[in-house]
Symmetry: D2
Subunit: 303 residues, 4 copies
Amino acid sequence: MSAASFHALHDRLRGQVPWGADDRRGALGHITPERLAAAAGEVRLGRSVTMAAALAGSAPDNPEPGTRHMKRLPGEPSDVPGLSFAADQLVMNVHGDVDSHIDALCHVSYDGTLYNGVRPDAVTSQGASELSIDDARNGIVGRGVLLDIPRLRSVAWVEPGDHVTAAELAAAEAAQQVHVGAGDLLFVRVGHRRRRAELGPWDVAKSRAGLHPDAMEYLAERQVAALGSDSNSDAAPSGVEGVAFPVHVLAIHAMGLHLLDYLQFDDLVPACEAAGRWSFLCVVAPLRLPGGTGSPVNPIAVL
Amino acid sequence: MSAASFHALHDRLRGQVPWGADDRRGALGHITPERLAAAAGEVRLGRSVTMAAALAGSAPDNPEPGTRHMKRLPGEPSDVPGLSFAADQLVMNVHGDVDSHIDALCHVSYDGTLYNGVRPDAVTSQGASELSIDDARNGIVGRGVLLDIPRLRSVAWVEPGDHVTAAELAAAEAAQQVHVGAGDLLFVRVGHRRRRAELGPWDVAKSRAGLHPDAMEYLAERQVAALGSDSNSDAAPSGVEGVAFPVHVLAIHAMGLHLLDYLQFDDLVPACEAAGRWSFLCVVAPLRLPGGTGSPVNPIAVL
Amino acid sequence: MSAASFHALHDRLRGQVPWGADDRRGALGHITPERLAAAAGEVRLGRSVTMAAALAGSAPDNPEPGTRHMKRLPGEPSDVPGLSFAADQLVMNVHGDVDSHIDALCHVSYDGTLYNGVRPDAVTSQGASELSIDDARNGIVGRGVLLDIPRLRSVAWVEPGDHVTAAELAAAEAAQQVHVGAGDLLFVRVGHRRRRAELGPWDVAKSRAGLHPDAMEYLAERQVAALGSDSNSDAAPSGVEGVAFPVHVLAIHAMGLHLLDYLQFDDLVPACEAAGRWSFLCVVAPLRLPGGTGSPVNPIAVL
Amino acid sequence: MSAASFHALHDRLRGQVPWGADDRRGALGHITPERLAAAAGEVRLGRSVTMAAALAGSAPDNPEPGTRHMKRLPGEPSDVPGLSFAADQLVMNVHGDVDSHIDALCHVSYDGTLYNGVRPDAVTSQGASELSIDDARNGIVGRGVLLDIPRLRSVAWVEPGDHVTAAELAAAEAAQQVHVGAGDLLFVRVGHRRRRAELGPWDVAKSRAGLHPDAMEYLAERQVAALGSDSNSDAAPSGVEGVAFPVHVLAIHAMGLHLLDYLQFDDLVPACEAAGRWSFLCVVAPLRLPGGTGSPVNPIAVL
């Protein structure tokens, strides 16, 4: 895609945002109370499934791994005879290329602004005074839909560097007999984690499967409320002249769409197969990190 | 309560656990698929509410505060002209006396064992090889019930040092016209956070409102699946001879009950009042921290 | 001191810096090879003494305490039978009001610049591209002189809020029979740590003993190479109209003087008494933290 | 070397330790006041040189890199108009295979004990109650000697897997016209960092140049006070049947010798060449980390 086409697409998507100049929640606005209440109707089997991967160790795609350190161990001498506690501390980057996380709307600065014209200096060393992840403190709760692209293509995974187009999303809908609608949380499986599990981790900064920028227009039309993937939704190389993360720019900056990166669907796919459908109630509960640029998350699908 | 009475209560509760010697999920077993599916019926208004407090700063009850550091700031020079990212890192203790978190079943060692007879050396400097929080990786999803003790007593909060008894829980049920049933996630509000907000933080290690140990028997009878509070459920002083955290010992060690500590109900109480009921769908999504002794959480109530 | 007097003093001190526009090491330039070699002659007893305090825990003056977490414990199961290691991780703020540390010349921004006119945006979220502590990577080695103001005043400590003037420094020199000369590392004891040990920690941001701004002119005349204190050299309240940290501004910004904050002299004072003199070889070895705004340090006095 | 020979060597070295059952400082006892005072005579040029490497980023030999995060940036809005500070936080593992550090005597547990028969449970999740790095709080100050093995062999570096024997240390002494004596801090250059700089980092856990175990007997005879290297002194594979880190075991556990790992001598070698000698005053200043298993350090050579 040429730089000019990308800019035109960016401006078009930006122009369609219906929320007004003061909006700070972006596409979450598509989740109306009616749609949220209806999403609860997706729960039939009474089964919940994680959509996150376990905290990862050092790897070529995880150069600064998060760690859990023990602060106290059970069985060690204690003030109270017979009673002791195990406790630990967590040190982790919120973003990165392995651990499942959500991007706040302050995450992307493009062309001199954040989402909705907010100035980049709203984010300082003290955190984000606007567009932080705490704007999603009440959770992102709605109907989730999983589109499984390797299933559509009958392959193990979408190869790194390859793009998932809007047309493919529509084809996956047809094949899976599910329709993505307004207020839905859309999850697109590209098979990134399966490839990682089978072939081992690689330098994903250089080579990664993701969505084609034209898929963002599809998401805008469908009024999707959030987008998640087992990749970070952006292919590498990007395929857009001069723009490294076109989906991040279009989703977060133009559309105000929260992105959920590096999820895992290995538990959800068989659950959907067993249920015979690809929609579910989905609850994303970011930690309450005021000023934060995102949060590690464990999105839960309930079928 | 005398040491002897406490030990008898502990053994009685431990003896009632129905799960068998290999169980590692404890009272979560009370959440059957039928109960989980029924809980979705609690969603009527289509409104979701946080039950967590924002990450706290240094205070007398928070001597080692968690922090969020910026790793990258938007607007700074970047490899890609026009595009930059904001990113941060999280450093936080999982437990403590302010930040909302869940305790894994490995958290308490008592009388030489963890829950269900697991040896304490299952937890080493490398984390817990059994009973870690990752045993709850699929989320804790069920019907939540909030019992509001200050409302029952017509006070602003339960005073530090005071205990909420089983009888009071029953009285609150009656007053609020709600019944705590099998598989429910029970939340008991003692007003800890309101007191903290109005009077400022204090040294809660010495003085804290909580549940009376006899309330644990009530929870066992009702087959509650998890227990949360805006305190840590344990009063200080404990009122039990020679045992500092009797509720932790009974809940986690004897009953296998996950505890949710230092939640906040300031958003949930008015939502329940507006809804005219005190039950809701509740989703707790611990981070995927294999080996972890717990997790920071943001439990979401959906009404 | 009025704002106008302070600005005049600042400009006067800044005007005296002899190093040229490209200088990034400031007053360290006063340590010539000859002076460094001569300083080795201070070693006679063959005794070395720490000038740092042990890593401190949470306290009113230490709201974000550093921590040391165990990563591995000896005696735990290991890949190699019979052999195991103990290892830990360090998390600590470089600055703060308790732990002994050195300030790099990038630490202070005043009137729109760092030391020697360097632009503040030389420091980004990625660290300092100029004036970082790595400019002192070869250590600060020279003759150290300790002036003990409580000894001069025959008091236990200088009271918080009180200032040590240039005249007092001169009086201490006379009383201790030592002369502060060119290239010396000057240490001024105000008794801060003794007060903290005896009365307990307090909120030092509001009330702290330190040097009077006029002492900076004295240091400039003497061509001192670095300044350390058991306080942070700045009194609180500052005594200067509209400037909170006048000594930091004058020392770091105007003079290019590295500051060593919150040292401890409880080991050094008796060592000096035993030696019958108040000068010694001093070695400050900042960690090699490229881009760093300072470093925790353990300055060593050798007598 | 057979397991039996190693055990015999270990017992022989352990039996020679002259310090008594209560000793906790090990070979540091060889640094007498006379020897320390004499070491100051090594200072002639008035030049100080770092022996540490800059904090390293992620690499195959650095899977959990330390980080420096900015806490505050200069030029950002501040309480005091015109004045602002730059501040950062340090998160780093004390040990590892790249960053320069010192091992405390509690670091190695072998055959059920730490150095001098101390029980391993002296180290808990709360740190080391004995043999911590704070036992070296007054610094390690003495005569340093650098033996340059690649120079002796006329090669760029000692190949990974190769060992430096006692005989080679003696040959290097002869070639460099320096004699390692009682109380000296011995530094052995194997060229590890030069190889890393020229060929890039590799997995040093599998392949690393180091000292032959027989070199430890040589060090014991010479009454060396501490041992440093640009490697970690231990070769990989170890060459000893069933023991992965024989030099660590012999040095720390049997002899009570502090090890300085992953130093860099690229600054020191040319300084020694310019000075025409290979001895110098050396100051190692561990941070004051009570309970710590070691410390990051920046050892300073003064010539």
